[in-house]
């Protein structure tokens, strides 16, 4: 297969038309300008202060101190609690499902169907998808109508909507595909012969799972955590629409600080998210190191 060598083999021929290095260089400059630089600047802003709606470019820790004093760190802790709970549940459901999808599912049509269903949510407007939960979970929504109608409960359950439950519930649906995909990719890279050899040598299925599949799937699991935990730290649509003002998370704090022109606070809260992102990315890169090259990753996409 040409795929494996296409990335590493030297090319004896000249490029037609465009000069590769030149274009890559310009792309990198522009891309760093709109991706990396803004992230660095917003982190730097958390060390400045505001005076009469003007930024004072004078390094100070006052924003971080006020973050601790005004109790906004409670919001950070609450967001972490939500993100940890939902991420844990996602991985718990996503890993077995990805294992089935990569190794158990024998029909290519079924697999293509499931992958299609997992891909589509990336392309759907989130607010219309989330707002519907109100008419399902609300006090006169579908579930309460069914429960009261069947006599299981006397009064409609109020904790179904505008509560921690509804927010976590909405988050779970939104971030399921992002948890499945990285795990699925690494699992489909595992050679079936390894699994066969393991059971042929007398390992039980649990031992094969514990000593063969789990270690090989670890980069995918870390990837799934990165793609779920980090966006959950900045989730905004779900708490806003399903929290009903009862559930205040980091995303809403950043948004309201920005609309109140309190840029240093918004910057500091964003820096917390960026910090979590950098930390988890380092873990991901370490777990990927020497395991997969770009070529092997695309081979798995090719299958």
């Amino acid at each position: 297969m040409a795929t494996a060598t296409a990335l590493s083999s030297p090319r004896p021929w000249r490029l037609p038309g465009t000069a590769t290095q030149w274009f890559t260089g310009w792309f990198l400059v522009a891309w760093i300008g709109v991706v990396v630089l803004p992230l660095l600047i917003i982190s730097a802003f958390s060390f400045f202060s505001m005076r009469q709606y003007q930024i004072v470019y004078d390094p100070t820790l006052s924003t971080w101190v006020s973050l601790a004093e005004t109790g906004r760190w409670v919001v950070v802790l609450r967001t972490i609690r939500f993100a940890v709970t939902v991420t844990f549940l996602e991985i718990l459901v996503a890993f077995p499902f990805a294992l089935w999808l990569a190794k158990g599912c024998r029909s290519p049509a079924v697999r293509a169907c499931v992958i299609t269903l997992l891909t589509i949510p990336f392309f759907i407007d989130a607010s219309s998808r989330i707002i519907v939960w109100r008419s399902i979970l609300g006090t006169n929504g579908v579930i309460n109508n069914l429960l009261v109608g069947s006599g299981l409960v006397d009064k409609p359950l109020t904790w179904l909507l505008y509560s921690d439950f509804s927010v976590s519930f909405g988050m779970f649906g939104s971030y399921f595909p992002t948890a499945v995909f990285p795990i699925f990719l690494t699992l489909s890279l595992i050679d079936d012969d390894l699994v066969k050899a393991s059971s042929g040598l007398g390992a039980s299925r649990l031992q094969t799972l514990r000593y063969i599949i789990l270690p090989l799937a670890m980069p995918g699991i870390v990837g799934g955590v990165v793609f779920t935990f980090v966006p959950l730290m900045a989730a905004w649509i779900e708490p806003q629409l399903l929290g009903g003002g009862q559930v205040n998370l980091l995303g809403q704090s950043i948004q309201s600080a920005l609309t109140n022109l309190n840029y240093p606070i918004a910057a500091a809260l964003s820096t917390v998210v960026i910090g979590v992102l950098v930390l988890l990315l380092v873990v991901l890169i370490v777990s990927l190191r020497g395991r997969f090259s770009m070529a092997s990753l695309f081979q798995s996409l090719d299958r």
Binding site: T3, A6, P10, W13, P16, T18, T24, F27, L28, W31, V35, P38, L39, I41, I42, I55, A94, F97, W100, L101, K103, C105, A112, V114, L117, T119, I120, F122, F123, I124, D125, A126, S128, I131, V132, S135, I136, G138, G141, V142, N145, F172, G173, F176, G200, G202, A203, S204, R205, L206, F227, V230, A234, W236, Q240, I254, Q255, L258, S270, R303
Partner: protein
Amino acid sequence: MSNPAQASALPHSPGTVGKRGFVDRLAEASGWNKVAVALGCVALALIYGPLVWLGVMSFSAEPLSGKPYPLTFAHYSLLFANDKWHTPFVKSVLLGLAVAVACMVIGTLLARALVRLKRPGSVLFLALLPLFVPGLTIGAALFIFFRMTLGLRLGMWSLFIGHMVWAFPFALLLILIVTIRFDVRLIQAAQDLGAKPLRCFLDIELPLLMPGISGAGIFSFLLSFNELLRSTFLRGNETTMPVYNWAMASAQQSQVPIVFSLSTLILAVTLPVMGALFFMLFARKGN
């Protein structure tokens, strides 16, 4: 779903030797794969259930009540009588088209360059970095950069950059798949036969890369068309379709039924297109 008997998560040989503990026997006895599939289907139902319900409720007289009956077309006639959503809709379409074209051109150039680099790793990592950054964070960062640091007035141009940062990594990945598959010997053969570099590119390379490039175009359009988080910060005074939907949805007012009908119509057009596209893409790879 497939035959559950075939859906065994691991190949199992009956004649294996060695002692089995209680946990092992438990693991083998109670069809874990069925549990796995069932839970996964529940998770998928959490995504698609609301979409179906959205369609049902768009015909309901009281969309927020949870009762589908009595059925009515009132919201749809209200929607067509109302022209407030026309401008956001047109703006979103135009913006999506601009993002799609830019992603196709830049993505093709960069993907061709990446497969020809000796060490593409760090460039690829940088190009894909926005996939990891939450929309709200990059939106806030770009807002502070453009508005505060550079002191610019936000508008369609900042929306365009924000959407590029979101859509480009997906577009690049799709085009990379086809550029990696591309057999460079075709170019070498054409050059041996005396073809100029531009002819090689236009007549040989581009047609073969076209499935990936056009896929990238459609994906970037859809990603831009439905983008909300970055847009809320970068829009200036502009209103795109998702921003309009969001304003209507979060205002908890009488406009909500219209949003239901509008979203249902958009989904009725985009879902079958996306479904067919993705299925062809993944089914072809499955063979």
